[in-house]
């Protein structure tokens, strides 16, 4: 009964989305203000019905209604309740349901917070969002209905949630990621509405900035959580694999970052208008591409679970319509938006342009590396996978270039900057960075040798932090109280850039100095890694709520003092018989000690993976700072005053 209610609510939501995509849009051309005003109530109605549908599915999970195919495939009576809820979005159908819910949520948020916008514009933005909802609701109802029944053969017990997904990181990782992916639908809808209207000015750019920032913050958090989860849950101690699905999330992030920077120039100086619109279109198109790559399962990846080709075709068509349609619109209207304004070689505009060039280049090379295997497969050139060296070869130098430009960019001003002014500020941070990079790597290595990766990493991080510190000191002196006088967007930027420096530190140092040993160990065996002595004291059998496990005990000592007692597990899940490695980690900022179990070998011995990973935690700590910085910038006072400014800039359409 609940399931039918959910299904019915979903169909009503589709009908509302259909109305939303048509009525206000037509109204905006005919000048019927009553039609346009319908947009916000339709948006709220749509959210209500999608939410009802979603809650029904969640209830079906909580009540163990295994007559639903989706529930029986992804849940089990022994599953703890919080995992039953997160199982809603554990597989294809539910993920799309979450997508649809979040899209409806963003749409409703736009409806509530866009009252200050001209009616024609807000009606069109909401209509475009409605059209996207139509696509997703159709996709759900036609190809991926989560409410499909298994009648009359109702299973007594469900197949269980994939044990890999039974984890707190996986409860929040997909919603955050989707908030980001779907969030880019807002600037996309904004761009389309602006293109239809043929007008785009700085008041509109200002309106879209907090939305871009928010979507970007969610995407940043989503990617960070995914990487963190892979690190502790997959049991190999890796945090980024250049896996197609990881790439799929990084591409919209890179373009979103470019968009965030280019829209600042559009708002402040009115430049890069059509470029900003193009980036908004690409950020969302790449989000859709990501969804397509994950959900069609056409690529071999950690995320490629069993899949259905028919869905892939639907997604591909949807992607083609959205991207193709918006690019055609852009080709017709985009160039007319451009307004030429002069700026000199050392202006902030040029630095932002360099930022955009680097980010878009990085995205392009990732796109090519990710899609090349697909293209090769279609052209029958063979089955190919592109290895990490390809991505690192391009990504590392691009990042170095980006970081150097970031350091210089803080000192530039809009329009033009005196070259001598910049040249006067650079030497101190540069010298600090070079000296640190020359000395510190010797201390970080165990045998006082020099690592180029380590040196380069330290150079980049110190350079960034030093330039930021210099700029902050110039802006507020050493009186910390004056920090309150600086704008949120400035502080957010500096915090995010500092976060990037810390993230780079983690990435570079953990790559340069991590020690990984895979060993055969019998109880009582010892191993010495990076100054830590690991003693394997034995294995116990333990039982969890829905699994049984072998738990190893490993004592880590340094200079005869116990540093940590670690208990990694090898779990056997009862329902599916699946085996899972649970690593155990002794964390600290400067190093993680990471232990995981391989297989049991003869005579009570086990294969063990023992790792010491310096500064690896900085990766996620830095990324967290980046997100907080983005959030801080979104709360800038300027955006809250938009009500007045929008009325000052009456726009005729």
């Amino acid at each position: 009964m609940i399931a039918e209610l959910g299904h019915f609510a979903l169909i009503i939501a589709l009908a509302m989305a259909l109305l939303l995509s048509l009525v206000p849009m037509i109204g905006s051309f005919r000048g019927y203000s009553s039609w346009m005003r319908l947009a916000s109530s339709l948006s709220l109605g749509q959210l209500l019905f999608v939410a009802v549908s979603f809650v029904c599915l969640a209830i079906a999970f909580l009540m163990d209604d295994f007559s639903l195919k989706y529930v029986s495939q992804n849940s089990n009576t022994a599953l703890p309740d919080h995992y039953k809820i997160s199982a809603v979005w554990a597989a294809h159908e539910g993920s799309l349901m979450l997508w649809a819910l979040i899209l409806a949520g963003w749409t409703a948020a736009v409806a509530l917070f866009s009252r200050s916008l001209p009616l024609v514009l807000s009606a069109r933005i909401l209509s475009v969002l409605g059209a996207i909802s139509v696509g997703f609701a159709l996709f759900l109802i036609l190809t991926s209905n989560p409410f499909e029944r298994l009648l009359p053969m109702v299973p007594m017990e469900g197949a269980d949630l994939n044990p890999l997904l039974q984890d707190i990181g996986l409860i929040i990782h997909p919603p955050m990621l989707y908030m980001g992916y779907v969030g880019f639908a807002v600037p996309f809808a904004f761009a389309i509405a602006a293109l239809i209207g043929g007008q785009f000015d700085s008041a509109w750019a200002r309106w879209s900035r907090p939305w871009i920032n928010l979507a970007w913050v969610f995407l940043t958090i989503g990617i960070t959580l995914g990487s963190w989860w892979a690190y502790y849950e997959l049991g190999w101690g890796g945090w980024w694999f250049w896996d197609p699905v990881e790439n799929a999330s990084l591409m919209p992030w890179l373009v979103g970052t470019a968009l965030m920077h280019s829209v600042s120039a559009t708002e402040k100086r009115g430049v890069f208008r059509s470029w900003t619109l193009l980036l908004a279109i690409f950020a969302f198109s790449l989000s859709l591409l990501g969804t397509f790559l994950v959900r069609s399962g056409i690529l071999t990846s950690v995320h490629a679970f069993a899949s259905d080709p028919e869905r892939g075709v639907f997604m591909l068509m949807f992607l083609a319509i959205v991207t193709g349609g918006s690019l055609i619109l852009f080709a017709l209207r985009g160039p007319a938006m451009q307004k030429v304004k002069a700026y000199s070689g050392w202006s902030r505009e040029v630095m932002l342009l360099i930022n955009n060039l680097i980010l878009v280049s990085a995205m392009t090379m990732i796109l090519i590396g990710t899609l090349y295997p697909l293209v090769a497969d279609v052209l029958e050139l063979g089955k190919i996978s592109v290895g990490p060296p390809y991505f690192n070869f391009f990504f590392v130098p691009l990042t170095v270039g980006l970081v150097i430009a970031m350091g210089i960019a803080v000192f530039t001003r809009w329009k033009s900057t005196e070259v001598n002014l910049i040249l006067g500020k650079i030497p101190v941070p540069f010298l600090v960075a070079i000296i640190s990079a020359g000395i510190l790597p010797f201390y970080l290595s165990l045998d006082y040798s020099y690592s180029i990766t380590g040196g380069l990493t330290i150079f980049m991080s110190v350079w960034l932090v030093a330039t930021i510190a210099k700029d902050l000191i110039e802006k507020m002196g050493i009186n910390l109280k004056r920090i309150a006088k600086l704008s949120h967007s400035y502080l957010g930027m500096q915090l995010a850039h500092t976060g990037l420096a810390i993230c780079i530190l983690g990435v570079g140092l953990s790559s340069a100095y991590d020690q990984i040993r895979e060993l055969r160990m019998a109880p009582g065996d010892k191993a010495l890694i990076a100054g830590y002595e690991f003693t394997f004291s034995g294995v116990n059998a333990i039982a969890g709520p829905n699994f049984s496990a072998f738990q190893a005990h490993i004592i880590v000592t340094k200079n005869n003092q116990v540093v940590a007692n670690l208990f990694p597990e090898k779990r056997h899940y009862n329902a599916g018989g699946q085996v899972m490695t649970e690593a155990d980690i002794d964390p600290s900022i400067t190093r993680d000690i990471y232990v995981s179990m391989g297989e049991p070998l003869a005579d009570g011995a086990w294969a063990l993976s023992l790792q010491v990973k310096p500064f690896v935690r900085c990766i996620w700590l830095g990324a967290l700072m980046v997100s907080i910085g983005g959030l801080l910038a979104a709360t800038d006072r300027r955006y809250r005053r938009r009500r007045q400014s929008a009325s000052n800039n009456e726009v005729a359409l």
């Binding site: 090379m365 390809y390 391989g598």
Partner: protein
């Protein structure tokens, strides 16, 4: 020249140079890092290159996993139904690696058509088979059917 035009021209030239450089590099690096997939039959027929990183995989043959007694060295056979390929690996195998299940190894072929793997991937949920392996098994199956058909025809 008008300053704005000059600025534009500079940008265009820059973009042309940079993008052609980038395109060249990307093509080169893709060529260097594209790891081709080969089925066990293809490897044994000598279609796969030696000393270049390739990927190969199939179903792990029952009873073929051999562990060394004093290290993490391991060897096993993978099959596509027609031919068995021997794979050597040193290290921890993935959780879902098992006899009768799909596995893909990345590594280099040595002289005797044996793959020295640097990485072994197994499937990651019960219902999933890597598309490469599924295809390889299907090809081999089709080929077998065809051969059977032909031999039956020949008998007649």
């Amino acid at each position: 020249m008008h300053p704005i035009r000059k600025q534009r021209l500079q940008i265009v030239v820059l973009i042309v140079i940079a993008s052609s450089l980038a395109a060249g590099l990307i093509v080169y690096m893709l060529g260097q890092n594209a790891n081709y997939f080969f089925t066990p039959s293809q490897v044994l027929q000598g279609e796969a290159p030696k000393n270049i990183t390739i990927r190969a995989g199939g179903m792990v043959v029952d009873g073929s996993i051999e562990r060394s007694s004093d290290s993490l060295d391991v060897s096993f056979l993978v099959t596509d139904g027609l031919a068995d390929l021997k794979i050597y690996y040193s290290g921890i195998l993935p959780d879902l690696f098992a006899e009768g299940e799909a596995a893909i190894a990345t590594g280099k072929l040595d002289g005797d058509k044996v793959l020295q793997a640097s990485q072994v991937l197994a499937k990651h949920d019960e219902n999933y088979t890597p598309p490469e392996v599924a295809d390889a098994m299907k090809q081999a199956y089709d080929l077998k059917q065809q051969e059977q058909y032909q031999s039956q025809e020949a008998k007649k």
